[in-house]
Every structure is written in structure tokens, then in C-alpha cells.
């Protein structure tokens, strides 16, 4: 293995892992803020129990998201120093803004929320979770601004003296069409995850007929959020597909393993056989769907991999500009498939729980509990698709992944770091999972009345 291959694996492992925790933080922070708002408005203790139950779950998850995030920032310099030097002028700006505008707010106000329960007036305390939640969503905007620039570079020029990119418009960078589609897509997908987590935790209790007062209401919230966010994720994803078709035609072609430019292109739900452009053994196809996705016209033209390759050979010089086709092909449909199943489950659940009903069917609870894996698999597939589909580029059209790697870092160093991260992250995942399951099973305790009334009691503390 070379430093390049190892560094790619390490970046992939650490980033996919980081994004297991991030979306729940994004979605659940807002949901917990809503629950606490409901409590303050309606003075119904059920909402307080809900806030604290999901608040604790949120914090266990948040801790892992925070600590694995530092690795992300450091890795650009550690493993991709050639990339960092080349793009720092442009790419560093949204990263620094993310820290200064979002991370400071998020971390400070989470601290105020955890420890402020009895120190701050109720409304001010409520404001702290809202500030933290909004800051979290803002941080997604800045990091996606950085990523969108890699997919579709705007607002820059290449300096002829230094051969590095130079920022020419921060406005262009922050209003990149790719970003404006990707941000809501990621946010909505995060709400699907948060919704499914709420559903799964609630299902565990409802199946056992325990704490029904809290978890029936939580179940309805989770179901509604999941279905609404699922539909919104599909709509924004659809917008992204057309941007991708015009900005990264190779990625669109690779999503379908479409080798030759076609009109009225069909979309295969799955394919048996190789995806190398040869004869496939068997596939299930929806006619016109690919053309419709890519161009909004059932007879529209979708460029094929071979055609784009020939055009890129001319434009960027001879080479291979194909991503790994089986990866892009499968990750694209698995993303859609897993996401759709989550939305479907929410739809069924909303029907089963209509008019204050509590479903009896055990299969529903089993599906609702294990279904929590679906949106996680979907977002993981989504990121694998969008990042692997950009290959061989790190910055589309400007710099390849092979050119990006740190020149001075040795194979042994990266083997050490990758091993350490993999083991550490594996251990952390096991502990976090165990703590979360334990917490869910313990349920939302009934708030005991304060014995002496006046004594400040920091309910949340370490």
C-alpha cells in the first residue's frame, strides 16, 4: 500500500465514522429544543421528561461527534498537505468561519444548557439550546461550503506565480449552487436520522407498554419528522441530481454505470452481472427515469462514461477520469433505497398510530427499532457516492487526489495512525452504542418533586 492509498482509506474511515454522529447532533438538537419549548409553553411534565431523555441521548452522541471532528480538521494538513497548500487560500476560509461563527457558539451554549438548568431563568435556558442547535446547523453550512467548492469550484482563480488557487469572491463561495442544494439535503437527511432515533427509542418502550405517556407522543413526533424530512431529502436530492448532471457529468453517468450517451435513458433498480459496460446478465429498469432525474425531460440526453472520458482526455490531458463504477453505482441506489425505506416506515407508522392508536403489531416495533439503521446506511452511502464519484479529483478539474497527498509523510506513519484511529473509533463506537442502548432501556424517569424547593439542583452535570 502506498501513502496515497492508506491516506485515502484513513480519510474515508474517519470521515464516514464522524458522520455517523454529526447528523444526529444536527437533527436532534433542534428536536430537543422543540421539546423544551413545548414544555415551557404547555407546562406539561411529559415534555420535560422527553427533553431530558432525548437530551441525554443527544449529549452522549454529541461527545463523540465533537472529538472526531478535530481529527477531520487536522487531517487536511497531516495527510493532504499538498492539497492544503494548494487550496488553503479558498478552502481554509469556510473552515475558519465554521470554527469562529459556529463551533464557539455551539460548544459554549451546550455547556450553558447542560449546567444551566437551575442557574438560568427558564426562557434564557431555553434560548441556550436553541442557540446551540442553530449553531450546529450553521456549522453544516460552512463545512458543506468547503465540500461544495471541491465538487464545483467557484469564486477563485489560479495564481500564475504560485500555481495555487486564490479566492476572488467569498460571496460566490457561500452562494455556490452546489452548496445551496447540498446544505438542505444534508440537513433534511439529518432530521430523518433524528426522527428514526426517536422512533426506535419510543418503539422499544411502547412494545413493552412502558412510559406510554412520554413515548407515544415522542413516537408521533419522530414519525412526522421522519416522513416530512424524508420527502424533503428526496426533493433536494433531486435538485442536486440535475446540478450534478451539468457540473459533474461523469458522476451522473457513474451513478447509473451508463457508458454511452443516451436519450430517454432508463434507470436500473439493480443489476446482476458486471458493471464494466459489457453485457449485463439481468437488471430491473424503470424506463426514462435517468433522463428524467438528470434533465427533467423523459427524452433528455444523459452523457455516458466513455463520452465524458473522451471529452476530459481532451480537456485535462490523457488519463483516466472514471471513478470506481461499482462503488458509485451501488452507493447511489442504496442511498435512495435505504432512505425511501425509512420514509415508508414512517408513513406506515403514522397510519398505525392515527387518532391516538397504539399499534399492537410486534412486527412494527421490530421494524421501527431495527429501522434506525436505514437512514444511517443511507447517509453513509450518500457520502461515499458523492466523494467517490468525484474521483480522481479532490478539487474537480483542478487537482487530483494523487497530487493532494502529503509528500513528507511515510507509509509507516499512516499505517500507525490508521490503525490507531480504527481501533480507537471501534472502541468508542462500542462504548457509545452500549451507553445509548442502556440509556434508552432505562427510559425517561419521572421528575421527583424538589424536597426543599429552594435548593438549586443542577440536574444535568458530569
Amino acid at each position: 500500500m502506498t501513502v496515497l492509498e492508506l491516506s485515502r482509506w484513513q480519510f474515508g474511515i474517519t470521515t464516514v465514522y464522524h458522520f455517523i454522529f454529526v447528523p444526529l447532533t444536527i437533527g436532534l438538537s433542534i428536536l430537543v429544543a422543540c421539546m423544551q419549548t413545548a414544555w415551557l409553553r404547555k407546562k406539561d411534565p411529559v415534555y420535560l421528561r422527553m427533553t431530558k431523555f432525548f437530551g441525554t441521548l443527544f449529549l452522549i452522541n454529541f461527545a463523540v461527534g465533537v472529538v472526531t471532528g478535530i481529527v477531520e480538521e487536522f487531517q487536511f494538513g497531516m495527510n493532504w498537505s499538498a492539497y492544503s497548500a494548494f487550496v488553503g487560500n479558498v478552502f481554509g476560509a469556510p473552515l475558519a468561519m465554521e470554527a469562529l461563527l459556529a463551533f464557539f457558539l455551539e460548544s459554549t451554549f451546550i455547556g450553558l444548557w447542560i449546567f444551566g438548568w437551575n442557574k438560568l431563568p427558564p426562557r434564557l435556558h431555553l434560548a441556550t439550546i436553541w442557540v446551540a442547535a442553530i449553531a450546529t446547523n450553521l456549522s453544516a453550512f460552512f463545512i458543506l461550503a468547503a465540500n461544495s467548492w471541491m465538487q464545483h469550484p467557484v469564486g477563485y482563480r489560479v495564481d500564475p506565480g504560485t500555481h495555487r488557487v486564490v479566492l476572488t469572491s467569498i460571496v460566490a463561495l457561500l452562494t455556490n449552487s452546489t452548496l445551496l442544494a447540498a446544505w438542505p439535503h444534508v440537513i433534511f437527511a439529518s432530521f430523518v436520522i433524528a426522527g428514526m432515533v426517536v422512533i426506535a427509542a419510543s418503539a422499544w418502550h411502547l412494545a413493552r407498554n412502558s412510559q406510554v405517556d412520554v413515548f407515544r407522543r415522542a413516537m408521533r413526533i419522530g414519525l412526522a419528522v421522519t416522513l416530512a424530512a424524508g420527502i424533503a431529502t428526496a426533493v433536494t436530492g433531486d435538485i442536486q441530481a440535475r446540478l450534478m448532471d451539468s457540473q459533474q457529468p461523469m458522476k451522473m453517468a457513474a451513478a447509473e454505470a451508463l457508458y454511452n450517451t443516451s436519450d430517454s435513458a432508463s434507470f436500473s433498480l439493480f443489476t446482476v452481472g458486471s458493471l464494466n459496460g459489457g453485457q449485463e446478465l439481468w437488471s430491473v429498469r424503470v424506463p426514462y427515469l435517468l433522463s428524467l432525474i438528470a434533465t427533467l425531460n423523459p427524452h433528455g440526453t444523459v452523457q455516458g462514461i466513455n463520452n465524458v472520458e473522451r471529452a476530459y482526455d481532451k480537456k485535462y490531458g490523457p488519463g483516466s477520469y472514471k471513478p470506481v463504477i461499482p462503488v458509485t453505482y451501488w452507493s447511489f441506489r442504496l442511498m435512495i433505497g435505504f432512505g425511501s425505506l425509512a420514509a415508508l416506515l414512517a408513513f406506515v407508522g403514522l397510519w398505525l398510530t392515527r387518532r391516538r392508536r397504539i399499534p399492537r403489531a410486534r412486527w412494527f416495533y421490530r421494524a421501527a427499532i431495527w429501522g434506525v439503521a436505514l437512514p444511517y446506511l443511507a447517509t453513509t452511502m450518500g457520502w461515499i457516492f458523492t466523494e467517490m464519484g468525484r474521483q480522481p479529483w479532490t478539487v474537480f478539474g483542478l487537482m487530483t487526489t494523487a497530487q493532494s497527498v502529503s509528500p513528507g509523510v511515510t507509509v509507516s506513519s499512516v499505517i500507525i495512525s490508521m490503525t490507531v484511529f480504527t481501533l480507537l473509533y471501534g472502541g468508542l463506537a462500542a462504548i457509545a452504542w452500549w451507553l445509548i442502548v442502556r440509556h434508552v432501556k432505562a427510559g425517561a424517569p419521572v421528575e421527583a418533586a424538589d424536597p426543599d424547593g429552594a435548593q438549586p439542583r443542577p440536574v444535568l452535570s458530569y
Binding site: 449529549l59 452522549i60 498537505s81 479558498v90 470554527a99 461563527l101 443542577p458
Partner: protein, 358 residues
């Protein structure tokens, strides 16, 4: 002053903020098992930094981001060159970070003891290694014409680097002990003060030797002044501990850390990463910086938002300014339904020592 120098100062300020703030929470983490005799003590100690440690750590993330945006070549060469030390720091920060959240979630002596060990290692390693890293940045590292680091891990473990590491380690422990004496009461407060004096016995000569060595090799008149002031502030802090003036003592160590960082950055300028291979290969404020437009944009962002950050972080410290007592901890119910088994409180200790403090 040109924009690149302005950003050099800003990066220095961000690292100063990081070391002054995370410095004391590293110190508390190191001292957790050494000063915390029982579970109540330890929970008091952790809760003194509980609301703020995460915000403190963001100073590092912001410093890294600012370096990336304003000095891409510095960021690239430094982070790839210091690969293994940064790996250790990252691992330590990860373990330490989850420790805050996970430690109290399970009511088991073994579980907590393991996390206490994690807290010690996770705090001590970065406290040591940041000193090693910054001493080596000032000293210069082997770097070729392409600004690629050509040394290895052992290159950084030279006597000056190790001395720098011992200085940050002992200084942060002192800073943390004084912070604890400022934020706790009773026996724990007295113990923290005694610990501060014992740590000072090592910290003062180490810091003096390091500052002297730094100024002899890399000094300039301005930084001779900051180095001397750092030494004065440190001695003042120790004197204040003696006099039971914990607030002044904390201000003293905070100032010592800030002035020491100012001295190092002052000695570094106009380089950002000197090459010990050849001065011609050094990265400087000029050749490592971003283009003008990026610096202008980021300057506006920094000028508008840094004061805001300082305001709300300052407010957080104000909200949580009260000393923590063991009764706070015993009254607290963790959100996890598993309850702490509270040790019987030695009631006589509470609030009996309450003099001094600013």
C-alpha cells in the same frame, strides 16, 4: 503593519486563548486523581471545568482554521511534519473529550477509575506535547526547499523541545491547581493550594530555564521584556498563592502563559516555521501567507466575531463563577437514571475555609 503580520498576531492570540483556557482544564484533568480523594471530590473537580472545557478547546480548532486560511503553507508543512505528535495529541483529546460525558453515566467504581486514568493521560500528553511542538517551531526544524519536513519523531525530542514540554506540563498543572483553589471550597481548596505550591517548585525553575534558553538563542529586545514579565507574573502568582489570594494567583498564571506564548511568537516572527536545514527554506509570514483578498475577508470576519465570542464566553464564566461545593454535587442528580451512590458528606468541612479569593 501589513495584513499577513496582523494574521500572525491573530494566530498568536488564538493560541494564547487556547493555552490560557485549556491550560487550566488540562491541569484539572491531570490533578483529578492526584487531588481528588473520593468520588465527590472528583466530581466537584470535573464540574469546575464541565461547562467550559469544550468552548476552551474550540480555540484550538479556530487557531488551526485561521492558520489554514491565512497561512496555508504553514498549516500544511507543520501538520504534515509533526504527524505523529499531532496523532498522539488527537488521540488524547478524543479520549479526554468523551471522558467528560461518559464517566458519570455508569455507576461503577471500575468504570470511573478507568475514565480517571483516561482523563490523566488525555490531559497530560497534550499538555506536554504542545510545549514540545512550540519549542521546536521556534527552534526550527529540518525542512527542504519545498518546505517539506525531513526529520522524524526523534528530531523533535531534543533537549530544548523536551524542556518546552516540561514547562507547559508544569505550568498548566500549576494553572489548574490555582483554578481549583479558586473554584472549590473546604479541604479540596486547601489541598489544591498546597499542590500549587509544590508544583511551583518545579514550574518556576523550568519556566525560567526555558525562557532564558529561548531568549539567549532566539531573543530580541521586545521579547526580552515579555519574557521578563512572564517570569514576574509567575513569581507574582506563586506569591499570591502563598498569600491566599487565589484570584490574583489565577490572573498571574494566566498572564504567565499569555506572555510566554507572546514571547515565543515574538521570537518566531517574521518566520512562521524556520528551516534548520537552510534559512532560505524557512516559511515566513510573507511566503506562507494567503493572498490579499482572503486575508481581507477573514480580517472582517475576525474583527466582527472575535469580540462576540469573547463576550459570550466571558458571560459563561460569569454564570458559573460560584465556588462548587460537595453539597452541589450531592444534590445533583445525573440525567442517567442510574444514581450515584453518594458518599456521606463530611459536613464540617463545608464552607469552613472561605477567606481570600477575588
Amino acid at each position: 503593519m501589513n495584513l499577513a503580520t496582523f494574521w500572525f498576531i491573530l494566530v498568536a492570540i488564538l493560541f494564547t486563548g487556547y493555552f490560557v483556557l485549556e491550560g487550566f482544564d488540562f491541569g484539572v484533568g491531570i490533578l483529578l486523581s492526584l487531588l481528588g480523594r473520593d468520588e465527590t471530590d472528583r466530581r466537584v473537580m470535573i464540574n469546575t471545568i464541565g461547562p467550559v472545557w469544550d468552548g476552551n478547546e474550540v480555540w484550538l480548532i479556530t487557531a488551526g482554521g485561521a492558520m489554514f486560511a491565512a497561512f496555508p503553507l504553514w498549516y500544511a508543512s507543520l501538520f504534515s511534519g509533526f504527524y505523529l505528535p499531532l496523532l498522539i495529541i488527537l488521540v488524547a483529546l478524543i479520549i479526554r473529550g468523551v471522558c467528560f460525558e461518559f464517566r458519570g453515566k455508569v455507576d461503577s467504581v471500575r468504570w470511573r477509575a478507568n475514565w480517571d486514568r483516561a482523563m490523566f493521560a488525555g490531559s497530560a500528553l497534550p499538555a506536554l506535547l504542545w510545549g514540545v511542538a512550540f519549542a521546536n517551531i521556534v527552534r526550527g526544524v529540518p525542512m527542504n526547499a519545498a518546505h517539506v519536513y525531513t526529520g522524524n519523531l526523534l528530531t523533535l525530542l531534543n533537549w530544548y523541545g523536551l524542556l518546552g514540554g516540561l514547562v507547559t506540563l508544569s505550568l498548566f498543572m500549576l494553572h489548574g491547581a490555582i483554578f481549583l483553589s479558586l473554584r472549590t471550597t473546604g479541604e479540596l481548596r486547601a489541598r489544591a493550594r498546597r499542590a500549587a505550591l509544590r508544583i511551583a517548585v518545579a514550574a518556576v525553575p523550568l519556566a525560567a530555564a526555558f525562557l532564558l534558553a529561548t531568549q539567549v538563542s532566539h531573543g530580541r529586545p521586545v521579547t526580552d521584556v515579555t519574557a521578563a514579565l512572564a517570569a514576574v507574573a509567575l513569581l507574582g502568582a506563586v506569591a499570591a498563592v502563598f498569600g491566599g489570594r487565589e484570584g490574583w494567583a489565577f490572573a498571574g498564571t494566566a498572564l504567565t502563559v499569555a506572555l510566554a506564548v507572546a514571547t515565543l511568537f515574538g521570537d518566531l516572527w517574521p518566520n512562521v516555521l524556520p528551516s534548520s536545514t537552510s534559512a532560505a527554506f524557512s516559511l515566513t509570514v510573507t511566503n506562507a501567507s494567503s493572498a490579499h483578498y482572503t486575508l481581507v475577508v477573514m480580517s472582517w470576519v475576525a474583527v466582527i466575531f472575535t469580540p462576540l465570542v469573547l463576550a459570550y464566553q466571558g458571560w459563561t464564566y460569569w454564570v458559573f463563577r460560584q465556588r462548587l461545593t460537595s453539597s452541589d454535587i450531592l444534590a445533583a442528580r445525573p440525567l442517567a437514571p442510574i444514581q450515584e451512590a453518594p458518599a456521606p458528606p463530611p459536613a464540617t468541612e463545608l464552607n469552613t475555609v472561605d477567606h481570600g479569593g477575588v
